[in-house]
Point group: C2
Chain length 409, copies 2
């Protein structure tokens, strides 16, 4: 089944609003065993008509987003009905739903909203509990003219996403005849690159019957998504884990920080952080996880040498002798955080984020990680991520969390 | 001039890689006084040919990204040359540049890379200092067949962006005849919403001759971009600042955190942070700014009550009496951070990020900010951002930085 996506909205092409729909639809459809054959973005106005005429002739199913609002810019409904030669009539149920939406919010409904209750004859109204614009579904051959199924959906993600799952996905499944939903498995790795997968397992994965897969490379992370029958998934996971198991973050799609928090909770252990060059990013990532407050109690951002000294007890003589970016200081920071917080495990990072501050011996991108465990020996690890400032912070935070994860496992 | 964008790559439609090109090009072109008439994304393979044939007939300039690599999937060069009936020949200069790229990195150049030195007769080779794939420019009527100017550019942003600025923008400017580059002015605001602008200044901005403008709403921030002649820009800025000046973050496109760091440097003051619910996000944002180490020395993530007590000296009796999310604790945290760090100004946040922990009196989304200044009176401010966990953290960090910014101004 050939599926095309048409995103409408001048704002999407001015660079003001990032169009995330293309990738989002791709991911949803991939999971259902379907594919996007083409995605297009056009500004409001006549460009919608031009693109619609082309796409509706070519596709089996066309998903259009945006242009269902109450303003004069919102013309998708009218353009589609006119092009297909279908009359728009006021739908009583849609009108009552619209009125109820405003009543509930104690806001007046204006004249302009009335057009949101106009429905092409023979179309299904797709309820929108999260906004005023209902979606519309025009089945194939609705008026004997177009063999293409057309979905008109609202643009804002918080309205679009639930409507897709509730109303669009079941209809696409029925249209495509893909009865069985494939299993999806997402494995996250760190410490290796996408090219390592290409060289090592690509050919074998490609040869597996009934398996589809895709990579997503992020800073300090490669995600592998496997889709297929249960047998194929099991086989693929075995292959990949045999080859790259030691780099695994999680095999259920959990982020690095969520994995660390889960392991801490399982072991009943508490973590504290002592950050210099990552500047609070590690603490920020950990506290993005709901429930992190149970296992993460203390974090320091000791950006200045004085802070390392007065907060974590790192001797100034040590900093003078070895430099702030050194094995000794990383260990002393982790020791200090463990001692001050009373946690079971403490991780530290000290490095050179740049753009300034690099030397020949310690270039921008150099960092030392420290790890202290209650009753154990403190260890350090040198890393080198010569990247821009933000990417360096992200990579260094990933390495630090990976060190904690490995220790907990 | 009708400009279209064609992004190629199966990965862009699988949801693995977010296609940020559409918006990025829109923004660059908008700044140059140009517009994207249509953007399309297609998977690798025959879909590229199909889309290219349509677009090259319709557009005055077509920018194609991706598919210039060395693998068998990378067919853009071949498809374009074949469709336009132009021969591909090996370009000696391109070949030497390619060889030099590998020599510099001490890597072997493989046979597959050779095709990256193949150039359509009459095309310009666009140097790529950041990767192996040179770009290509096929001027209009290159072989008497197509009136469309065609740019073939590499997909990865770190290769694409510099090439666009160096090689594509000047050629587009020449083609479009837009001689004078319009002035661009970006104003950032916090504490008001996009709808406030719509109601208050939209009609007046729309009526100004020679002015184009657009909004971008982010979490806790609205950006207004003004483009036009110098006179129009001055007039528009005056209007907007008269109405909303007190919500201004910056009038030169600087982020909130960069603005705070700049103000601190100007005043020779040092800042420290004491974070509970924002979990290090404020420190993380500040340390994203190069040079922040000069003015930001100490940060605490006192997530647990014990941490507030043992690190910042917040009395446990105060926490018991008023709760951790209270005016008293916010002030005591800021006071403690000021005292411990020796900084000139300290900001604190304590609140309920959720999903758990809310009460009727203090629902999820409630937070208190504290601000202490050396030799001054410590103040507190209550905020309420009932959002999901990450959005709450972002909004609360924005409010805290805004409080610092206002104090510094």
């Amino acid at each position: 089944m050939r599926i095309e996506i048409l995103n409408t909205g001048t704002e999407l092409l001015l660079g003001n609003t990032l169009n995330t729909h293309g990738g989002w639809f791709g991911r949803q459809l991939f999971t259902m065993g379907l594919r996007v054959a083409r995605q297009a973005t056009v500004p409001d106005g006549d460009a919608i008509r031009e693109a619609f005429v082309e796409m509706v002739d070519r596709a089996d199913a066309l998903i259009i987003t945006g242009g269902l609002g109450p303003t004069s810019d919102d013309l998708t409904r009218e353009i589609v009905a006119e092009t297909l030669g279908i009359e728009l009539v006021q739908d009583e149920h849609a009108l009552r739903t619209l009125e109820a939406f405003f009543t509930l919010r104690d806001k007046p409904m204006v004249e302009a909203n009335l057009k949101q209750a106009m429905v092409p004859v023979g179309a299904d109204v797709l309820p929108n509990p999260n906004g005023t614009a209902p979606g519309l579904y025009l089945p194939p051959r609705i008026n004997g003219r177009s063999r293409c199924a057309v979905f008109l959906l609202p643009g804002p993600p918080r309205e679009l996403y639930p409507m897709f799952h509730e109303e669009v996905a079941p209809r696409l499944r029925a249209l495509s005849g893909v009865e069985e939903i494939a299993t999806v498995s997402e494995l996250k790795f760190t410490g290796i690159g996408e090219s390592d997968f290409h060289h090592s397992v690509d050919a074998e994965l490609a040869a597996m019957e009934g398996l589809e897969y895709g990579y997503c490379a992020r800073m300090g992370e490669v995600d592998l998504r496997l889709i297929g029958g249960e047998g194929a998934i099991v086989e693929a996971r075995e292959l990949v884990l045999a080859r790259f198991g030691k780099y695994l973050i999680s095999d259920d799609g959990s982020s690095m920080e969520a994995t660390v928090i889960r392991l801490l909770r399982e072991k009943g252990m508490k973590l504290s952080t002592a950050e210099s060059c990552t500047g609070g990013l590690i603490a920020n990532r950990l506290t993005n996880v709901p429930g992190s407050s149970e296992v993460f109690t203390h974090g320091w951002v000791t950006y200045a040498n004085e802070a390392k000294n007065d907060q974590l007890g790192v001797p100034m003589e040590m900093i003078d002798a070895h430099g702030a970016v050194s094995e000794e200081v990383a260990c002393a920071m982790a020791d200090g955080a463990l001692r001050e917080s009373g946690a079971d495990i403490a991780v530290s990072v000290t490095g050179i984020a740049g753009p300034g501050g690099g030397t020949e011996e310690k270039p921008v991108g150099t960092a030392w990680l420290g790890l202290a465990v209650k009753g154990g020996e403190t260890v350090a690890q040198k890393i080198y991520h010569p990247r821009n400032r933000k990417d360096f912070k992200q990579s260094a935070s990933q390495s630090a969390l990976d060190l904690v994860k490995k220790t907990l496992r």
